[in-house]
């Protein structure tokens, strides 16, 4: 499944060289040109989790594809390790790189509202992705995955499939509004099926190892579990290992989330009976957001103020559409 | 200005152990009182109670007639009572000025008045005769200099009762002279002074009255004038003391030297130093603080870089890159800084003893029994008193700590032993034991080097004494020429 180390290195080098070249040409470009062309900045979190790694990959793919397709377009991608760094990078993008359009995936809603507002004040067209700002007037457009559907779809799927009766344990990510939104949608949707019992929901930090531990303890604590809502495909990996170790046969299904390629492939191939469905929340939406913003700006158009990329239930029938073997996620 | 102090039935216990037992005496204002006694006699505890560092278990301290018990040293200092500690109590990371004014900073409005503090500090340093920049960090000073800073610190407080606890333990003769002048001046100003020292010549010179304590009790008092030193010692130890020093063996000059050092240079400290040492010889090193004696020997055993020089052991050249290599060739060096370099005060005594020779107790696992045997033997041989193998070395008295340190460096069986200030902070009885031990080690065929600032010690003990000044050897003195005047003249370069 993995490439060998060596061709990996070469690819990396090419990429680095490309970024360096882009940065150099950005410095060399005369400021006057910025008016007639679209100079698009992309500010996203650094790759620390499978999902954010996917974000970075899709953002760089967007840069490659779009710059090739549109000669008047220049895209600068910046990754940040935290909110303060992201704020600094926004400033650099505006003042040094002189962008006139921005696609930003904020680390935190509140902390980045002001920095983004400052960018917009300088006449930059701002598209905010995934996490909404606390003051929506700081953005021109908002494109996001559907976090409500991320929780609602598995709830409806479980209720329907198990005839309104099942014992469910679930995992949660890191205490954030994002996680709470999904959790509330999940529990809310299950209110309609009083016989589906949620036994507990503990944080496992969107991390395989923590999910493994939490699942081990669930297995100790609950003698009968029908379904696990792992709420994330990375966590689902840890959950599956814990179940495998305990050799428990009562568990019928593990439902992850986000559509990681390994999980989607397992669903597509039917290779693991515990994996039958997933909900899409692909990092590809950053690609879509960059593409929509760039193409609209090249034509001088505006985007609709809010655009929600729908989350879709992935099952064996449609899994092939959501399988991207080249993406790291 | 003068202050009258009376102790009335002072008793102090640490747990069940009584340290002071019903001590009562008075101090006349404006005089210099020597407080004598062996280590453990209770002198330090008594003055700590007076200066607010300790509380008495029973009894009262009267200041000018009124009962006083200072809860902390700060209150005592407010009354003008200042204790200069036996072991300096200064903050390493702060400058001299900052230390002098610590807790009593001068202010101008909201701000610290740095300039005034620096000026006052400089004046106080001049008075105690310490020529360092007030902005020097304490950690860059050697022990003697730190002690002078302590005294300067007392001076800038409006002092009415000054307690000096072993102030000259690490001072050079010149520095001592300055200190004595200072004591005389303060006395003339009406300051009452308590002077704790083991050096009886000093006591003879500068004090008005001698007060002696033994085993936590007041033993007696007498005017200094007309009191023989021998009598003082006898009062302190409670028995006759025939002679402090063992009889000298004849100087062993025959045969090739055991150690020959030629043109050794430790940059910044010692220049082109040459000397020889024979088996059975005790070689002294005299000099002022800063003469480079300690650094010379640290260079010799590889603790400091040497830029030139050759070292021959038994006629064969030796490259001593580090203390391990030095020990491998049979040279051990015991540092002057007992707390900081010679002993792990918080580690068990047994572990201290065996650290430099641990390989002998590993086969391959460390044998506690073997280490315990070593400890038992060392304890008997060196008469280390008050020790349990597993108790931390800090629980020993100064003299016994020093004996443990010597024992530690003898464990690897070195043939050449360098002892740097071996009797610092050690009481008379223990000093004598250490002198006899040194003589015995030499008589057994070892080469002994003693670095000391106490000239009497070098004269009483050594066959020959090398005098250093500013990193250079000024002279090597032996035989009948070994006198205080001769050594001082070379050390100060006033010879001829």
């Amino acid at each position: 499944m993995r490439k060998t180390e060596s061709d990996h290195l070469t690819r990396r080098h090419l990429l680095a060289a490309g970024v360096a070249l882009a940065a150099m040409s950005a410095l060399a470009a005369p400021p006057a040109r910025a008016d007639d062309a679209v100079n698009l900045g992309v500010s996203i979190p650094a790759a620390t989790h499978g999902f954010t790694a996917g974000i970075v990959w899709w953002a760089n793919k967007a840069k490659k594809d779009l710059e090739q397709a549109h000669p008047g377009l220049k895209i600068t991608v910046r990754t940040a390790a935290g909110a303060p760094q992201q704020a600094d990078q926004l400033q650099d993008l505006t003042i040094v790189t002189k962008i006139n359009a921005l696609v930003v995936f904020p680390f935190e809603s509140a902390a980045l509202t002001q920095p983004v507002a400052q960018v917009k004040k300088r006449g930059v067209y701002v598209t905010v992705v995934d996490r909404g700002l606390s003051d929506t007037s700081a953005q021109d457009a908002y494109i996001a995955g559907d976090n409500t559907a991320f929780g609602r779809i598995p709830a409806e799927y479980i209720a329907k499939k198990y005839g309104g009766s099942a014992d469910v344990v679930s995992l949660r990510g890191i205490p954030t509004t994002l996680d709470t939104e999904r959790w509330n949608a999940f529990t809310g949707a299950l209110k309609a099926s009083p016989n589906v019992k949620i036994l507990d929901g503990k944080y496992a930090n969107w991390n395989r190892d923590d999910a493994f531990k939490v699942m081990q303890d669930y297995l100790t604590r609950f003698k009968k579990i029908d379904v696990v809502w792992a709420a994330d495909d990375d966590m689902a990996v840890g959950v599956l290992k814990a179940i495998q170790q305990a050799k428990r046969t009562d568990i019928k299904e593990v439902f992850g989330g986000a559509g990681a390629k390994d999980i989607v492939k397992a669903i597509k191939d039917g290779s693991n009976p515990l994996l039958q469905a997933d909900v899409s929340y692909s990092p590809k939406f950053i690609y879509d957001a960059i593409k929509m913003t760039a193409e609209a700006r090249l034509k001088g158009d505006k985007l609709p103020p809010t655009y929600i990329i729908p989350s879709v239930l992935i099952t064996r029938e449609n899994a092939a559409e959501y399988y991207f073997p080249d993406s790291p996620y | 200005m003068s202050l009258r102090v009376a102790f009335d039935g002072i008793t102090k216990r640490f747990g069940a152990v009584p340290v002071l037992n019903d001590v009562s005496f008075e101090l006349a204002p404006g005089r210099v009182h020597a407080l004598l006694g062996e280590n453990g006699a209770g002198k330090s505890t008594l003055v700590k109670i007076l200066a607010g560092y300790e509380r008495a278990s029973a009894g009262t301290v009267r200041i000018d007639g009124g009962a006083q018990a200072f809860p902390t040293a700060r209150e005592a200092e407010a009354q003008g009572i200042v204790l200069v500690h036996q072991e300096t109590n200064l903050a390493d990371a702060l400058t001299v000025t900052e230390n002098i004014f610590l807790g009593h900073e001068l202010r101008r409005g909201w701000w610290l008045d740095e300039r005034a503090m620096r000026a006052k500090a400089r004046m106080a340093l001049d008075e105690v005769g310490l020529a360092v920049d007030p902005d020097t960090k304490l950690r860059d000073l050697i022990i003697a200099e730190r002690q002078l800073v302590e005294i300067a610190k007392a001076l800038v407080r409006r002092v009415r009762l000054l307690i000096l606890d072993e102030p000259t333990a690490s001072l050079t003769p010149t520095e001592c002279e300055r200190l004595f002048g200072l004591v005389a001046r303060l006395r003339a100003d009406g300051v009452t002074i308590i002077y704790i020292s083991h050096k009886l010549d000093e006591v003879e010179r500068i004090t008005d009255e001698v007060i002696v304590m033994r085993d936590g009790r007041f033993v007696g008092r007498a005017p200094t004038a007309g009191l023989a030193r021998g009598r003082m010692v006898e009062m302190m130890i409670g028995r006759e003391l025939a002679d402090m020093f063992p009889p000298k063996e004849p100087e062993p000059t025959s045969g090739p030297p055991m150690l020959e050092v030629r043109g050794l240079t430790v940059p910044g400290w010692a220049e082109q130093v040459s000397f020889t040492l024979h088996a059975g010889e005790i070689l002294g090193f005299a000099g002022l603080v800063g003469a480079g004696r300690t650094e010379l020997f640290e260079g010799l055993i590889g603790l400091r870089p040497c830029s030139s020089g050759t070292v021959m052991i038994d006629g064969r050249p030796a490259r001593l890159r580090n203390p391990r290599a030095a020990l491998g060739r049979g040279i051990a060096y015991l540092s002057e800084d007992r707390k900081g370099k010679a002993l792990h005060l918080h580690m068990p005594m047994r572990d201290n003893l065996t650290l430099a020779s641990l390989d002998r107790h590993a086969r391959p696992w460390l044998s506690a029994a073997s280490e315990d045997r070593a400890w038992q033997r060392a304890r008997e041989l060196f008469a280390i008193r008050g020790g349990d193998a597993g108790a931390p070395a800090a629980t020993l008295s100064g003299g016994n700590q020093q004996k443990l340190a010597i024992a530690k460096y003898l464990e690897p069986a070195p043939r050449i032993l360098v002892l740097d200030e071996p009797t610092r902070g050690v009481d008379v009885g223990a000093k004598r034991e250490i002198y006899f031990l040194i003589a015995r080690l030499a008589a057994e065929g070892r080469g002994l080097i003693v670095v000391s600032s106490e000239l009497i010690e070098l004269i009483g003990l050594c066959h020959r004494v090398v005098v250093m000044r500013r990193g250079r050897v000024m002279a090597t003195v032996a035989g009948t020429r070994l006198t205080e005047a001769e050594l001082l003249a070379h050390a100060l370069d006033t010879h001829h």
Binding site: A47, T48, Y203 | M347, D351, R360, W365, A389
Partner: protein, 341 residues
């Protein structure tokens, strides 16, 4: 030479009572505070959920403690010298990634999975040891504070892994994963392999710290480096070995970790350094160095994972307060510790 020298041979000197007692009786049991805390926590855990006291649960807890525990034993040595290593979590992640990449690439050329896995395991320990020695060299020869050196490598190691993984996950090939699995999941004599390795490491660590010259030198350096230097202890070499030992421990922990999930990602080993350091300190080792206890460290490590386990087994406390409960338990244990000394 006629001598005052104290030798082993002439056994005439008296034997103290202390010498007669066997060494294990004379070890001072410093682990009191954490042990008491652990017992209390177990009582509470059992009261809240009887499943806590089951064998299976204990096997789980011990197995998951073993990674942090093994690292904490190495960390104990480094902390006793007066040093610190902040990089162990990142180091574990990088070793895991490197080991998997190596094994995947060897799988095609070597064929035999057992040989590939054996090589991978040796590689993990050697790489860890080399990383540790690199730390030691920077600290002793380079004269840089351990905190700074390992803060630097903390970033370097994790960034290297993220780069190798292209931000994603490095996964062990399926066939290798199946053969390697037993190294984590197999249960010889009823306990998982990592638990046995943890126990063996703890025993070896205790012997090394208390019964060898190296252990004594480690304590002597931490207690006062100058005194040790003057007593002819090769301070640089001892420190180098202590960091190398910790690195090797990280390697051992990693080679046990990899078969569990068969993957390494940028979140592998996240915050392990804090857990390992916490285990050592909770176990009664002084942060300033000079003395330490392996038994205490083991207890501290188990205590830390039991807290999480008890919280997972109940839902009487809001999940939002989990971290607070952990904090309170840690502080209470530290207080117990202080009382007893």
């Amino acid at each position: 030479m006629p001598s005052t020298r104290i030798t082993e041979a002439d056994g005439s000197a008296g034997h103290g009572a202390a010498a007669a007692r066997p060494w294990f009786r004379r070890m001072r049991w410093r682990g009191y505070g954490p042990l008491l805390g652990l017992v209390l926590l177990c009582v509470v855990g059992t009261a809240l959920n009887p499943d806590f006291a089951t064998w299976d649960n204990w096997v789980n807890v011990l197995a998951r403690t073993s990674f942090i525990g093994i690292i904490a034993i190495g960390m104990c040595f480094v902390i006793v010298t007066g040093g610190i290593d902040l990089s162990v979590g990142s180091m574990a992640a990088l070793i895991a990634g490197g080991e998997i990449l190596l094994m995947n690439s060897l799988a095609t050329s070597l064929g035999s999975p057992v040989a590939v896995i054996a090589l991978g395991m040796v590689f993990a320990i050697v790489l860890g040891g080399l990383f540790g020695i690199a730390h030691g060299l920077l600290i002793t020869r380079g004269r840089i504070e351990p905190f700074i050196v390992t803060l630097g490598t903390l970033g370097i190691f994790r960034a290297l892994l993220t780069w190798l993984a292209d931000g994603g996950v490095i996964t062990l090939d399926g066939m290798l994963s199946d053969s390697y699995g037993p190294v984590y999941y197999a249960t010889p004599l009823g306990l998982q392999v990592p638990v046995w390795v943890f126990a063996a490491t703890a025993f070896a660590g205790a012997v090394l710290l208390n019964r060898t010259t190296f252990g004594r030198y480690v304590k002597a350096i931490g207690s006062n480096e100058q005194v040790a230097r003057y007593a002819a202890v090769d301070v640089g070499q001892v420190k180098l070995l202590a960091y190398g030992l910790l690195g090797a421990c990280v390697g051992i922990a990693t080679l046990l970790y990899v078969p569990r999930l068969g993957s390494a990602s940028p979140t592998t080993g996240l915050l392990w350094e804090l857990e390992a350091i916490a285990a050592v300190i909770i176990g009664g080792t002084s942060f300033r160095g000079g003395s330490g206890s392996i038994a205490g460290t083991v207890t501290g490590a188990i205590l830390l994972s039991v807290i999480g386990n008890v919280l997972d087994l109940t839902s009487i406390i809001s999940v939002y307060l989990n971290a607070a409960v952990q904090g309170v338990v840690i502080i209470v244990v530290a207080l117990l510790q202080r009382r007893r000394t």
